[in-house]
Structure formats: C-alpha cells, structure tokens
C-alpha cells in the first residue's frame, strides 16, 4: 500500500491529529475553542468536529460493525456534546468527555439493534479462517479483524478498542466508561486472550 492512497489510509492516534485548517490553528486548544463557543462564536465548534470526527467514527464503527449505526452514533454524540458544552469543566479532557458520550451512544445503539435484530454475527471458528495468500489483501484482514472483535463481549471490545486502537490511558478510560481501572485492565487482558488465537490465524503467525 503506497502513495497517496496509502497516506490516506494511514490513521493517526488522536493525540497526533493536527487540526484540519492552517498552521495558525495548531496552538488552539480544545478548551479555548469551547470557551469561544460559549462566548457566542458557535462556528468554533466546527473545528472540534473536524478534529475528532475521524477517531470517533473509527471507534463507533469498530464497536458497532455497521457504518450507518456508527455515523448516527457519532452525529448524536457531537450534538449532545454541543448542547451540554456549558457543563464541560475545563480541567477535563474534551476528548474523554466526548468519548464518554460516544461510548454511551454506542451502547444504546447496540441495545436497540439487539432488541430488533439479534446479536452481531458470531465470530467464526478460527480454524475456518482461510490462510491468507502472500501480500495480504487489506479488505480480508479488515473483515477478519472485524469478525474477531465482533465476537468479543461488548465491554471487552470497548475496553480493547479504547486502549489499543484509540490509545487512551486507563485513567482516561475510567472517565469514558465509568468502570474502575482494575476492571478495565481485566477486560483488556481478557479481550487480548480471546483474540490471540484468531489473530494467529489471520496473520498466519
């Protein structure tokens, strides 16, 4: 995967995301943007949306396995965060606060879907995952990974994604999920243990 498309697909952790617009915005913090919104400059919120939409969309999609559900959850999260901006404490990380709202939206979406459609597709038996040919096709790996994490208990999937994909520290994950750090560590460990045999099959390790 090279060239412009490779560049596009290369995701960056939220802490490395640079603002969408010009260099002049690099030093504008989340807290100062929020202060400007509350002072009446509503457009300042669009900068926050641009900063966090991609990682939020990624997390929601990995949690829910469905692009439309993920987009709905992300949109609702940004809207709720906007409405509740007056309650945001400057000491909090906006990212944690936004992810907490988003994680709640994902849980609600999963509960709604569970009631209407039944569970996410059960994970395939790892031994039935086909051995990949040389030169892994990204879509094969992508689909197999989605199947693997889709088979995890939702609490474990959530903790695994926050820790290993979104790159949050455990203290921040506690703010996002409301669970204790020790409970979260246990969930991440169990997720990794459950995933390992499937990952071995996927990557032919």
């Amino acid at each position: 995967m090279t060239g412009a498309r490779g560049q596009q697909l290369l995701a960056r952790r939220p802490s490395l995301l640079t603002p969408r617009s010009s260099d002049a915005c690099l030093s504008v913090s989340d807290a100062s943007l929020i202060a400007r919104v509350l002072d009446g400059e509503a457009d300042a919120y669009s900068e926050l949306v641009h900063r966090y939409h991609a990682p939020c969309a990624r997390f929601a999609f990995r949690m829910l396995g469905n692009r439309q559900d993920a987009e709905d959850a992300v949109q609702e999260a940004f809207l709720r965060a906007y409405r509740a901006l007056g309650r945001y404490h400057e000491r909090d990380l906006f990212r944690s606060w936004l992810y907490r709202i988003l994680a709640n939206q994902c849980r609600s979406a999963a509960r709604r879907r569970h009631r209407h459609e039944g569970r996410l597709d059960p994970d395939a038996d790892p031994s039935s995952v086909p051995i990949p040919a040389e030169g892994l096709d990204t879509s094969f790996v992508e689909d197999a990974l989605m199947q693997a994490i889709g088979g995890l208990d939702p609490h474990m999937r959530e903790a695994f994604l926050l820790k290993h994909v979104e790159g949050l520290e455990y203290q921040e994950m506690a703010v996002v999920t409301g669970a204790s750090v020790s409970a979260l560590k246990m969930r991440v460990k169990r997720a990794c243990d459950a995933l390992r045999p499937k990952l071995e099959a996927i990557y032919d390790a």
């Binding site: 596009q8 697909l9 995701a11 952790r13 919104v37 509350l38 009446g40 509503a42 919120y45 949306v49 641009h50 939409h53 991609a54 969309a57 990624r58 990995r62 987009e71 992300v74 949109q75 940004f78 809207l79 906007y82 409405r83 509740a84 901006l85 007056g86 309650r87 404490h89 000491r91 909090d92 907490r100 709640n104 990204t138 790996v141 992508e142 990974l145 693997a148 994604l161 290993h164 994909v165 520290e169 203290q171 506690a174 703010v175 409301g178 669970a179 204790s180 750090v181 020790s182 560590k185 991440v188 460990k189 990794c192 995933l195 390992r196 990952l199 071995e200 996927i202 990557y203 390790a205």
Partner: protein
C-alpha cells in the same frame, strides 16, 4: 502504564490495522455540522450552586438541617484535616426532609450527599442507584468552594455508593460504613435509607 499486551506483536499489529480509517467522510462531517447549526447555542451554566438554592424546598429539605449538617461537617473536617494532611476530605450522606411518595409501593426519601473536598476540580456521586456511572451525577460545588453536594431520591433499603474525584480517584465516604469489597478493589460506602415515614 504498560501491560503485557503492549509488547504482544499480534495485538500491536491488529491494533495498527484496526486504527486504519478510510479517507475522512466529508459528507458525514457536514451532516454533523448542519445538525449542530440547527441546535440552540449552548450557554455557560449559570452558577446556581449555593446554600440557598441547594437547601431550597425542592426535596423538602429543612434549610436549618442542611446548614447545620454542613457546618458540622466543615468543623469535623477541620479537626480531621491535620490527620489527612494533603487534603481535607469529609463526606456524609445526610438523610433529611419529607418522605416523597411517588406511589404507595414506590416511596422515595430525599438524601443529601455532601463531600468537603476543596482541592477537587470535579466530583461525581456514583452508586448502585445510578449504575456506578461517573457521568450520571456530577456534584455541585458550593460558592465557598469547599463543599460538594448532590441530592438523590432513593427508595428505602441498602445502597452502596462512593465519590469520584477529578474523574479517577475513588473515595469512600469517611463517615459511613465501608461496603464489602466487590472484587474490583474500589472502595465504597453503605447507606441504609429508612423506610419509615418521617413525622
């Protein structure tokens, strides 16, 4: 903090692949922005905290009872303060007020939760009554800065609760019995709400 999986190459590889995202979906972003533009502009939350508001008739709490409790706690906090060194943290759940009946079989009593934590930036009340959700019941800071408070209407019976300071530090109520360890190593406290009607 590193754990074993941080060094697991399979997990690292899977995480890297899961972190890949397609090109930003500008149309999805525009839909979010359109929804936001249609929403009323958020306001800074006006400082409604204050002894008078908190001790209002909302839950039938007696202003004198609440003020006396708060004063007693602050005095107690000053006495304990030396022992706790870095931070004076004193809390209690004060049962007061009229019994609020929602229905004959669903009787609730107003309970004030108070925590003196002057050094805190944010305090949440968590417990079995709000799913231990750190975001569910943020406590309000009194204007003098030292006391945090929240009110809940709870059914009679045993409740387990705790305070979360600055999003991550769990503190049981120093003035309440400690709950048995629930296996997660999180300290919490026990409150028994009296089911008898107050006179």
């Amino acid at each position: 903090m590193r754990d074993a999986a941080d060094d697991d190459p399979l997990v690292t590889r899977a995480a890297r692949d899961l972190a890949r995202t397609p090109a930003p979906d500008e149309r999805a972003v525009e839909r979010v922005l359109a929804a936001v533009r249609a929403a009323p502009a958020p306001q800074r939350r006006a400082g409604r905290e204050g002894g008078a508001h908190f001790l209002s008739g909302t839950f039938g709490l007696s202003p004198l009872a609440g003020a006396a409790a708060a004063a007693a706690l602050i005095a107690l906090g000053a006495a304990i303060g030396g022992a706790l060194q870095r931070e004076r943290v004193v809390g209690s759940a004060v049962q007061a007020g009229r019994l609020t009946s929602v229905s004959p079989s669903d009787t609730l009593r107003a309970v004030q939760f108070l925590l003196a934590a002057p050094g805190a930036g944010a305090v949440s009340l968590v417990g079995d009554f709000n799913g231990w959700d750190v975001g569910a019941t943020p406590m309000r800071r009194a204007p003098d800065g030292g006391m945090w408070m929240a009110e809940m209407r709870l059914p009679a019976g045993r409740h387990v609760y705790s305070f979360v300071v600055d999003g991550s530090r769990w503190l049981p109520d120093p003035l309440a019995p400690l709950a048995a360890d629930d296996g997660f190593g999180v300290p919490s406290s026990v409150l028994v709400v009296d089911g008898a009607p107050s006179t």
